[in-house]
Structure formats: structure tokens, C-alpha cells
């Protein structure tokens, strides 16, 4: 066992990288659930975004085109969910599960010719002077644009939900869709936009896995982090900053346990591998002990009867 092989600075830096896909997917799902829709298809939209982003980045040679394509791909898949749940009024749980299964299969089909291909590298930003600082530099100022975008997105979602009329209407729709309809708000339209936003965020998160974190294409490479993102939203009590905290906690322990495995710590690998899930859920359960704030219309089908 050699713990000195673990470099704390690199550990923190890679923690942020590991957390970003979950963060992006979870903040998108948070908006969807705040609008009263439960989309269990996050995993499917992530993997679809992963392959769409990967393929487009490889074909065009530009990672940015890849990320845009990934967002579009995730949103396109969520459009299927829109058709099923908002227009055909199908059950949201079943539709979401179907979306995940479909996304996993469809991405495998799309990705057949991309196995083993290397994607174009995503450039890291250099902040003049700041990036060269000894400890803070590598941790805070040596990342790619998407990572910062994720953090900015959390702040933007938080501010929009709290301070803007758009956010108020979105929360109102998720809270009581019948009352929102009676006041004349377009419940279905607002929910469709929220679902598309969630799809785009999940796609972006998926592409971050295939273009930055790993970076390569393997079938089923999102490996369940879509589900973690879903759980995170619930345990974070639908609060954006807690989603950030949960994502970083999960990313941090994932990276730490990998380092511990590499250092040969005398704990069975299985326990280390399960530790991120256990610790993240434990911490968020304790945090969410305050009054539960689940949107009251979450998962209920809206139908303007009269």
C-alpha cells in the first residue's frame, strides 16, 4: 500500500471532471421534475448524447460541434418522451424506462463503427496567470469550457427558478397543473420545453463522458450514472446547489476509491466500488431530512378535461 502515490491536487481536479456528467444530467432532470414530469429516461438520453457527440466530433474534428450535436441528440430522444407522455398521455414511469432501454440499444447501433476511434481532444482553457498558480491553478483554472458551463448552468437554473417569472410559472405548473391551467398557463407547452431542456442537458452530460472523461466510445459506457443523476435530484430535495454538492461528492468518492484501489488499500474492491453510491445517498438523505419539497404534481398526467 502506498498512499503517497495519491496526489491530492490531481485528485480534486479529476473529481470535478468525474462529477460534471452527473451534474449536467441532474440539473436538467431537476428542471423537468420541477415542471411536474418524471422522466426516467436520463440514462438513455445520456448514452444517446454520448454517441451523437462522439460521432459528430469525430466526423467534423471539432469537439464543440460534438457537444452541440450531443445536446440536440439528447433533446431529440426526449421528444419521443414528449410524444408519449404529453400528447399520447402515456404513463411517465413506463415511458421513461422504455426511453432508457431504447437509448441504450439505439446508441449501440449508431456506435458500431466508432469503437476504438480516438475523438478530437477538447481544449482546456488557460486563464492568464491564474492557471499557473501552484495548487489553485490545476484545481480551479485548468479545465475545459463544458465543466465551467455546468457550474454556471446550476447557478442559472437556481436564479431562474428563484427570481424570474419564467421560473415561478414553471414551479407553478409542477406544483398544481390544474390550477395553472385554470389561470391560463399552457401546461403542456411549458412541460414540453422543460423536457427538451432536460434531454439536451443529459445529452451534454453523456458527451462529456465520451469526449472528455474517458475519451472513447464503448457500448453502455455511461454505466448507470443517469440513474445516479435521477437519485441525486430526489435526495437533493430539488435544490440546485445541493445537486452540485451531491454530484461533487459522488465524483469525489469515485475518484478517491479508484486511487485507493490503485494504491492497493487492503479493503476488498467491491466495498470500494460501492462506496460512492452509499456515501452520496447517505449524506443527501441526512440533508433532505427537512420538509420534503417534491413538486406536488410530479409524475401525474395532465389532461385539460373541461
Amino acid at each position: 500500500m502506498d498512499l503517497s502515490a495519491i496526489n491530492p491536487v490531481l485528485l480534486v481536479a479529476s473529481l470535478m471532471v468525474a462529477a460534471t456528467p452527473i451534474l449536467l444530467a441532474a440539473i436538467g432532470e431537476l428542471v423537468v421534475e420541477k415542471a411536474g414530469v418524471l422522466n426516467l429516461g436520463v440514462e438513455g438520453m445520456m448514452i444517446t448524447g454520448a454517441i451523437c457527440g462522439f460521432a459528430i466530433a469525430v466526423e467534423t474534428g471539432s469537439p464543440w460541434a460534438g457537444f452541440i450535436g450531443a445536446a440536440a441528440g439528447g433533446a431529440a430522444l426526449s421528444l419521443l418522451f414528449v410524444l408519449l407522455t404529453q400528447l399520447a398521455l402515456a404513463n411517465q414511469v413506463a415511458s421513461g424506462l422504455g426511453l432508457t432501454l431504447f437509448g441504450l440499444g439505439f446508441s449501440a447501433l449508431l456506435g458500431q463503427s466508432y469503437v476504438g476511434v480516438k475523438p478530437p481532444a477538447t481544449p482546456k482553457l488557460e486563464f492568464l496567470g491564474l492557471s499557473d498558480l501552484s495548487v489553485i491553478g490545476p484545481i480551479l483554472f485548468h479545465h475545459d469550457l463544458i465543466l465551467y458551463f455546468g457550474i454556471v448552468l446550476v447557478a442559472a437554473v437556481w436564479a431562474a427558478l428563484k427570481y424570474t417569472r419564467m421560473g415561478l410559472i414553471l414551479r407553478a405548473v409542477g406544483e398544481n397543473h390544474d390550477a395553472a391551467h385554470a389561470l391560463g398557463y399552457k401546461v403542456v407547452r411549458i412541460r414540453i420545453l422543460a423536457i427538451l431542456f432536460g434531454g439536451a442537458c443529459a445529452g451534454l452530460g453523456g458527451a462529456y463522458v465520451s469526449l472528455v472523461r474517458v475519451p472513447q466510445w464503448t457500448e453502455g459506457m455511461t454505466a448507470g450514472i443517469g440513474w445516479i443523476a435521477l437519485a441525486l435530484v430526489v435526495f437533493a430535495s430539488w435544490k440546485p446547489w445541493r445537486v452540485l454538492l451531491g454530484a461533487y461528492l459522488f465524483g469525489g468518492i469515485t475518484v478517491l476509491q479508484l486511487n485507493l484501489q490503485a494504491a492497493g488499500v487492503a479493503i476488498p474492491v467491491e466495498y470500494l466500488a460501492m462506496s460512492p453510491y452509499v456515501v452520496t445517498i447517505l449524506v443527501l438523505v441526512i440533508l433532505s431530512a427537512d420538509k420534503s419539497s417534491a413538486p406536488a404534481s410530479l409524475g401525474r398526467i395532465f389532461h385539460a378535461a373541461r
Binding site: 410559472i169 414551479r171 407553478a172 389561470l183 391560463g184 419539497s293
Partner: protein, 505 residues
């Protein structure tokens, strides 16, 4: 009448299988308080939804201040000065008062200004409100204030109120009426929907009566007696329940020193409740919704368990028994919520009959169901209580509210309870079905059963109860003989005016 504000001409709206409104015409004048009267299902709600732009008429026209008026959505109706207070509150529990009000406005000012204006307007009209409280924590009366303030902030020309007094104490009703009269004197017209005739007589200038979607007559309420209006509404003279003189037996149900927390986050805990009911007696429990009615029913039915001694049935402690064990002993309950609490909406009437009847009607053997016997039981209920349905195989959801309510009450009455507890037995039920249900309750008591009737309809309680008590914030007032109680006394028992004051501008 002065100048006409809104006139409706030949409005018709049909839904598959039912004509909600057929050729309805009337006028509302500026500053007039106009009543819209009718039974449930008479088409009142559909009509006002057309005025508010939620529903588009199939044919017919509306004219507002001389100009054609056809709102495509509530937003444009609001822009034209139409505001509406909904029957089932259109509020968002998790949001605060100011946010709720902002959602009902087109261009709300910034939160701080809005909060200041809410305070100003609410105090001017005697309806005090704290803009930053969460709506889920407010009482029913306060929630209604939120809706009214939301309308008033938009300076409406026509205010539509859909059954506004069903959740208020008599004192609160008086204050609401003062506010409405003041608004009317300032030139705001009010379209007031209700089926409470005395209220309409004291408040409204003019009334239009709807029956089965048609305008069947107009009257000036002050010059028309309540029974004449009732006849217009129902189409025939109403039978009032007959009360037989009877001897009261020994104490059947005894609750002493009962306190229980509410299982729901926005519920009310019961605090030190005492009550006794004797055989052959009907105890009426009034009070504004949300003051512990659901919890009291839960404690009696066995959904909320308490100390064994807190609830006694014929002297035996039952506080820790579940619903099935209590049913076996003869304590039956019929909760308020028809779809979901007292009946399973998607199950057939036979299955629903089995759900509460299996113990006393012997509908199962060794864990296996006796379908034949259950269907017979369902048929007996349908026959005895005149439930209008094609047969016992129909889903509970397919019945109208009144018919399902007759089924739910009938199911318990036919099981020959020792003690029957009902919550809101005639809520949302039309007048003839309501009087049939009340008669059944009275007949049951005449047969020697003890009955606890929880209701928000004071007229109903006065009609059937021997003694009356009121729930207020989880406390039960001392029961008093119902005969001779005045409305003032009842109002005080219900907690008075809850801090409301008469408009003082």
C-alpha cells in the same frame, strides 16, 4: 337596472353525451350583484368558464360594454377586466402568498412592491394577509382571501365568485358580504354562484336560475321566497326529511381526552377531544374544513390509532384496533372523499361493496371471496338507495357524485351499524339525493344506532342533529342541543371571524 356591462346571448356548450349549457341568455349591469343559481350539474361552472375564457362556447355571443367579447384564454378575459375566484381553490400550496398572487397577474410588479400592495389592499378590505406565508399553511378562509386579493389587485369590472362561502364561518361570510357590497358600490359587478338561497336573498340584486343547462327563470331574490327559488332550481317541490320522535338509549360511543397528531404535513392535530353519543342520537359536528375533520374521522375509523381508552365503543376500549376490527364490533365510517377514500374509483361497485362489507355481510370464507353474495349485496344497495347505474359491474368512477355518494352511504347503512360516522355525507350532491341521504341517516338513528355526522353544511346539521358541536383548530366545543341554537352561537363555536374585520375604507 343601470347600464349593461355584459350580456350573454344564446350561449350553448355541449360535451359528448351531455349538453352543459343550452341557449343561455342574460344581462349583468354595472355594479350589480347577480346570482347564478342552480343544482350541481346545472351548468353554472361551464357558463362562467366561458365568460372567463377557459371554455369556448359552441354557439352564442357575448357583448361586453357594447363590444363583442370572445376571450380565447383567461389572459384576454383578465385584460378585459374579468376576474374569477374559483370554487376549488386554484392555489399552489408550496408557494407563498405573493407568488400565488403574481401568478394570477399579467404584469406583476417586483416582489417587494407587490408585497406592499397586497398589505395595502388586504387591509383596506378587511382581509389581512401576510404576503410571505406559505399557502399550504393557511386556513381555508385565508386561502380564499388570497384569491380575492389576487382579483382585486387587477381592478376588475366583473368579479366571478364560484360558491365562495362553502368554506367560511357565518361571521366570515358576513365580512365577505360587506366586502362585496363595498365593491359593488364602487362599480364592480359581481356574478355570484351559489345554491345557498338565504345568502342570495340577503346579498344579490338579481338572480338567474339554471336547470339542466337551461335558463329557467329570473327573479329578484329579495322579493322571492327561498322555497319559490328552490322550486325553480329543482323543478319540483322538495321533500324535507322527517324526524321521528325517539328515545335515546345508553352511551354507544365515548371519546375522552383524545389528542392525536395529523398524519399529513398540512393537517390539524386533534387536541383533548371529548364526546359521547348515545344510541338513537345524531351528533352533528360542524366547523370550517381543515380544522381536524379528517383527523377525527381517522381516529374513529381506526386509520389513526390512539391509546385504547381514548375511544370506547359500548364501554369497550377500541382505540388501538384497526378499521376491520372496529367494523366487526359495529363501528362503521364513510369518509368525505368519494373517489379514493370511501370508494376505489376504478373498481366495480361489487368490489367496492366487498371492500367494507366483507366482515359484517360475511362476503368471504377462509380468505376466498364470495362473488355471488357480494354482487347480491351491491344490488341491494343499488335498489334500496335508488343508485342510478346500469348495474353493479360498473366502475365506481363512472357514477355521478350524487349517485356514488348514495352508494357509499347505503353500503354502510345496510350493514346495520351500532355507530355510524359520516363526513360530508351530501357534499356536491344535488338537493333530492341529499334529502334521501339525510332521511336514511335519520331512519338509522330511529332504529337505535348512534350517528356522528361531520359536515360543513350548517343547514344540514341543523336539520338532522340532536346535538351540535364544532371543531376549531383541532379542538371540539362542548356539544349543545341543536334545537334553539342561533347562527351567532354556532359561528362563535366555529371560532368566530378568525381575525377578519369589516372593511373600513
Amino acid at each position: 337596472m343601470t347600464e349593461t356591462l355584459l350580456s350573454l346571448r344564446g350561449l350553448t356548450k355541449a360535451y359528448p353525451g351531455v349538453v352543459a349549457n343550452s341557449n343561455v341568455s342574460f344581462d349583468i349591469g354595472v355594479g350589480e350583484i347577480h346570482a347564478l343559481l342552480g343544482e350541481n350539474g346545472a351548468g353554472k361552472s361551464t357558463l362562467v368558464k366561458m365568460i372567463y375564457g377557459l371554455v369556448k362556447p359552441d354557439s352564442g355571443t357575448m357583448v361586453l360594454r357594447g363590444k363583442p367579447f370572445a376571450p380565447a384564454e383567461p389572459r384576454s378575459a383578465r385584460a378585459d377586466g374579468i376576474a374569477m375566484v374559483f370554487q376549488h381553490f386554484s392555489l399552489f400550496d408550496a408557494l407563498n402568498v405573493a407568488e400565488n398572487i403574481a401568478l394570477g397577474m399579467e404584469t406583476p410588479p417586483p416582489m417587494r412592491d407587490l408585497a406592499r400592495r397586497i398589505r395595502e389592499v388586504s387591509e383596506a378590505y378587511g382581509l389581512p394577509l401576510d404576503p410571505f406565508r406559505t399557502v399550504g399553511d393557511l386556513s381555508a378562509g385565508e386561502r380564499q382571501r388570497v384569491e380575492i386579493i389576487r382579483c382585486l389587485l387587477q381592478d376588475p369590472k366583473l368579479l366571478i365568485m364560484d360558491e365562495p362561502t362553502s368554506v367560511l364561518t357565518p361571521q366570515e361570510v358576513q365580512i365577505l358580504f360587506e366586502t362585496l357590497r363595498k365593491l359593488s358600490s364602487e362599480g364592480t359587478a359581481i356574478l355570484y354562484i351559489s345554491h345557498k338561497l338565504e345568502e342570495i336573498r340577503s346579498l344579490c340584486d338579481h338572480a338567474t336560475v339554471l336547470r339542466l343547462g337551461k335558463n329557467v327563470g329570473e327573479c329578484v331574490p329579495r322579493e322571492t321566497s327561498a322555497s319559490e327559488m328552490a322550486e325553480l332550481m329543482v323543478g319540483s317541490a322538495l321533500k324535507t326529511p322527517q324526524r321521528a320522535g325517539r328515545e335515546l338509549g345508553e352511551v354507544a360511543l365515548d371519546i375522552s381526552g383524545l389528542s392525536a397528531a395529523s398524519p399529513s404535513a398540512f393537517g390539524t392535530a386533534l387536541k383533548n377531544v371529548h364526546l359521547t353519543v348515545r344510541k338513537g342520537e345524531v351528533l352533528g359536528i360542524g366547523g370550517v374544513a381543515g380544522n381536524g375533520q379528517d383527523e377525527l374521522l381517522g381516529v374513529l375509523s381506526g386509520e389513526i390509532l390512539t391509546a385504547p381508552d381514548a375511544v370506547r365503543l359500548d364501554g369497550a376500549p377500541v382505540g388501538q384496533m384497526g378499521p376491520t376490527a372496529r367494523r366487526k364490533l359495529g363501528l362503521l365510517t364513510a369518509p368525505e372523499e368519494r373517489l379514493g377514500h370511501s370508494a376505489a374509483p376504478d373498481m366495480s361497485l361489487t368490489e367496492n361493496a366487498m371492500l367494507t362489507g366483507s366482515v359484517r355481510e360475511n362476503l368471504e370464507r377462509n380468505g376466498f371471496l364470495k362473488w355471488g353474495a357480494a354482487e347480491d349485496f351491491a344490488r341491494r344497495i343499488i335498489e334500496a338507495f335508488d343508485v342510478r347505474t346500469p348495474g353493479p359491474d360498473n366502475a365506481a368512477r363512472s357514477l355521478s357524485g350524487g349517485n356514488l355518494q348514495k352508494f357509499v352511504i347505503g353500503r354502510e347503512v345496510l350493514q346495520k351499524p351500532q355507530v355510524l360516522v359520516v363526513n360530508q355525507p351530501t357534499w356536491g350532491v344535488d338537493a333530492s339525493a341529499a334529502s334521501a341521504i339525510r332521511q336514511a341517516i335519520l331512519d338509522l338513528a330511529a332504529g337505535g344506532a348512534a350517528v356522528v355526522c361531520i359536515s360543513q353544511d350548517l343547514d344540514e346539521l341543523m336539520e338532522i342533529s340532536d346535538r351540535f358541536a364544532a371543531l376549531n383548530e383541532g379542538r371540539l366545543s362542548t356539544p349543545r342541543d341543536a334545537a334553539g341554537l342561533t347562527v351567532e352561537e354556532i359561528g362563535l363555536m366555529m371560532g368566530g371571524a378568525h381575525g377578519m374585520e369589516v372593511a373600513h375604507v
